[in-house]
C-alpha cells in the first residue's frame, strides 16, 4: 500500500513537532526535577557549613564553593593571556600558510579531546612530573589546557568582526601593527572576548572528569592553590557515588544549574550588546 503524499506529510509533521517539543520537555524535566528536589535542602546550614564526610553526607558546600572560586580564578589567570595571545596571533598576524593551517587544525582537534584524557595528561605532567601533587593548581593548569581552544575560537571570532576600516584608520595614522591591535582592535572586540571568557568560566563550573583525577577531592577549606580540593561538579559526583545523601547531591546540582543559567544569561546579554555596537558603528 502506498500512502498518499498528504498522509505522509501529516505523519511527518506530527513526528517533527513531537521531536522538537520533546527536546524542550526533556530539558525542562531535568532542570525542574533537580531544582525541585534540591530546593528544600537550601538554607544557611547547606551554604555555610563544610561537608563533614561520611556515608550520610552531613554538612553543606561552603568549602566546595570556595574551592570552585579558587579554581575559577587560578584557571582564568593562566587561560586568559594564553588564549587571547593565541587568538591575536591567529586573527591579526598569522600568514596564510601550512603552519597556520596546522595550528588551526590543532585547535580544532584539541577541542575534541575528551576531558578524561586531559585529566590523564594533567595527572602525568602536573601532578606527577612537576610534583604539584593533587592540587587546585594542577586542576587549573589542566582545565586551562582543556578550555584553551574554546577561548581561542571565541576571541578570534570577536576580533574578526571588527571592521577592516578600524584597522586601516589606525595604520594610516602611523600606528605599528601592535599599537593597532592593542589600542583599536582589542578595545573594539572586548565585549566579544569577555563573552568567550565567561563561557569558559561556565566550562570550569561544569567540568568534572579532568578535575576528578588532578585535584584530589579533599573536602576541606583550601588556604592556597597548592591545596587539594573539589569543585561543585566533582562534589555532586562524590555525594552521588559515596554517600546516601542524594538530596544534597541534587541540591548541589541545582546550584550548578543556577550558576550555568546565570552565565548563559550574561553571555546572551553581552553578545546582544556586542552585535548592536558593531552594527551601530560599522
Amino acid at each position: 500500500m502506498r500512502l498518499s503524499p498528504k498522509l505522509t506529510q501529516r505523519i511527518a509533521w506530527g513526528f517533527i513537532w513531537a521531536a522538537g517539543i520533546s527536546a524542550v520537555v526533556i530539558l525542562l524535566l531535568i532542570v525542574v526535577y533537580v531544582i525541585a528536589r534540591g530546593l528544600p535542602v537550601f538554607g544557611s546550614e547547606f551554604f555555610f557549613s563544610e561537608p563533614k564526610g561520611g556515608i550520610s553526607g552531613e554538612g553543606g558546600i561552603s568549602s566546595v564553593f570556595v574551592s570552585t572560586i579558587w579554581l575559577i580564578a587560578t584557571t582564568m589567570v593562566i587561560l586568559i593571556p594564553l588564549g587571547i595571545g593565541a587568538a591575536i596571533y591567529l586573527a591579526e598576524y598569522a600568514p596564510d600558510n601550512w603552519l597556520t593551517r596546522l595550528i588551526r587544525y590543532g585547535v580544532e582537534l584539541l577541542a575534541g579531546v575528551p576531558s578524561i584524557v586531559f585529566g590523564l595528561f594533567g595527572f602525568a605532567i602536573f601532578v606527577m612530573a612537576l610534583n604539584f601533587s593533587y592540587s587546585i593548581l594542577a586542576g587549573a593548569l589542566t582545565l586551562a589546557c582543556l578550555l584553551l581552544p574554546f577561548l581561542i575560537r571565541s576571541a578570534e571570532e570577536a576580533m574578526k568582526v571588527v571592521p577592516r576600516s578600524y584597522r586601516e584608520a589606525a595604520l594610516a595614522l602611523g600606528a605599528t601593527k601592535w599599537q593597532m591591535t592593542k589600542s583599536v582592535v582589542l578595545p573594539a572586540a572586548i565585549p566579544g572576548i569577555i563573552t568567550g571568557i565567561i563561557l569558559c568560566v561556565g566550562g570550569v563550573v561544569a567540568e568534572s572528569a579532568c578535575l576528578y583525577v588532578t585535584m584530589g577531592g579533599s573536602a576541606g577549606m583550601p588556604t592556597s592553590f597548592f591545596d587539594g580540593g573539589r569543585s561543585l561538579a566533582v562534589h555532586v559526583f562524590y555525594l552521588a557515588m559515596e554517600t546516601n545523601a542524594l538530596d544534597k547531591a541534587l541540591a548541589t546540582g541545582a546550584v550548578l544549574i543556577v550558576l550555568i543559567l546565570i552565565i548563559n544569561l550574561i553571555t546572551r546579554w553581552l553578545a546582544w550588546r556586542f552585535r548592536a555596537r558593531m552594527e551601530g558603528k560599522a
Binding site: 509533521w13 578524561i116 602525568a124 568534572s208 572528569a209
Partner: protein, 283 residues
C-alpha cells in the same frame, strides 16, 4: 624607537602563544603514549585481551572498548532520529516565536554539567530500569545509553540545523513549485543536499559520546565485563581511567595510560573524519 621594539616583541610573543594549543596537543599525545608503552612492552597483545583483573595482573582493554562502543551506538540510535526531527523542526517547521524559545533551550542543554545528567540518570532512570528488568540496581548499558543520548542531542541537533539552513532557498522553492508537499521537499531535496553536514553532526556527536566520563561512571555499573544484554552493567574506557588512576601503580598505571591512548586515537580518528566532512559541507 621603542614602539618598533614593542611591535617586534609583540609579534614574537603572540606567535609563541599561537602555537601553544598545537604544542599542548602534541604534549598530550607524547605523555600518554610514553606512559602507556611499558604496559605494552610487558603485556604485549594481551593488553588488548578481554580480562581486566588488576589484582591478578590481567589488563585487557578490549572489554572496556566494547563497553564504550556499545553504549555509544545505543545512544546514537536513540539520539539521531530525535535530533534530526528537532533540527528539521528548528530549521523548517517551527513558527519563529517557538523557535526563539527552543533554540536557547537546546543551547542550555549543552551547558548543563555532565554530572547533573548522570545524577538524574542515577536517581530517576536507574530505579525505573531496575523495576522493568527486575534485576540489580538498574545501572546498566540501557541507562547509560539513554543519558548519553540526551547529552549528544544538542550537538547533533545544532550542526544538523546549521547544515539544513545552508541549503539554498531556490532548491526548496523549485520543489514546492512543482507541487511537492513540504515533507516531500524536505525528504527529497533538503535532507539529501544537507547530507554531508548531517553526517558530520553525527560523527562529531559520536566523538563527544565516546569521551563522556562522569555521567557514564554514575549510571553504567562499572563492572569490567562484556555486557550480555542492555540491562547488563558494563564499563567504558573513560570510566576505567577515572575509577582507577588514583590508586594504580606500576603496570596497572601504565595500562590505564594505554587505555587513554586507545581512547585518544579513537577520538582523534572520529573527530578528524568529522572535521573533514564538516569542512566539505562549508564549501
Amino acid at each position: 624607537m621603542s614602539r618598533y621594539f614593542a611591535d617586534r616583541a609583540a609579534k614574537r610573543l603572540v606567535f609563541i602563544l599561537g602555537v601553544s594549543a598545537f604544542l599542548i596537543l602534541v604534549l598530550i599525545a607524547v605523555f600518554i603514549f610514553r606512559e602507556g608503552v611499558p604496559a605494552f612492552q610487558e603485556l604485549g597483545f594481551s593488553l588488548f585481551g578481554t580480562k581486566w583483573y588488576p589484582s591478578r595482573d590481567a589488563f585487557g582493554i578490549l572489554t572496556m572498548l566494547v563497553g564504550s562502543v556499545v553504549v555509544t551506538l545505543l545512544a546514537l540510535a536513540l539520539a539521531i532520529p530525535l535530533a534530526l526531527g528537532c533540527a528539521i523542526f528548528l530549521a523548517e517547521v517551527a513558527p519563529s516565536r517557538i523557535r526563539q524559545l527552543t533554540r536557547p533551550a537546546v543551547e542550555l542543554l549543552v551547558g548543563i554539567p555532565s554530572v547533573v545528567y548522570g545524577l538524574v540518570g542515577l536517581v530517576v532512570l536507574a530505579p525505573l530500569i531496575a523495576d522493568i528488568s527486575g534485576q540489580g540496581s538498574g545501572s546498566s548499558v540501557l541507562a547509560a545509553g539513554i543519558v548519553l543520548a540526551i547529552m549528544v542531542l544538542p550537538t547533533v541537533t545544532s550542526i544538523s540545523e546549521e547544515s539544513l539552513r545552508a541549503v539554498p532557498p531556490q532548491y526548496k522553492e523549485a520543489a514546492l513549485a512543482m507541487g511537492a508537499t513540504q515533507w516531500q521537499t524536505i525528504r527529497c531535496v533538503l535532507l539529501p543536499t544537507a547530507r554531508s553536514g548531517i553526517i558530520a553532526a553525527v560523527i562529531l556527536g559520536t566523538g563527544r559520546a565516546i569521551g563522556e566520563t562522569m555521567a557514564m561512571v554514575m549510571v553504567i555499573g562499572n563492572s569490567p565485563i562484556f555486557p550480555d544484554s542492555i540491562f547488563s552493567p558494563a564499563r567504558t574506557l573513560t570510566g576505567n581511567i577515572a575509577l582507577e588512576i588514583g590508586h594504580a601503580t606500576g603496570t596497572h598505571e601504565s595500562a590505564l595510560f594505554a587505555t587513554g591512548a586507545v581512547l585518544f586515537v579513537l577520538v582523534m580518528l572520529i573527530n578528524s573524519i568529522g572535521l573533514v566532512v564538516h569542512r566539505r559541507m562549508a564549501r
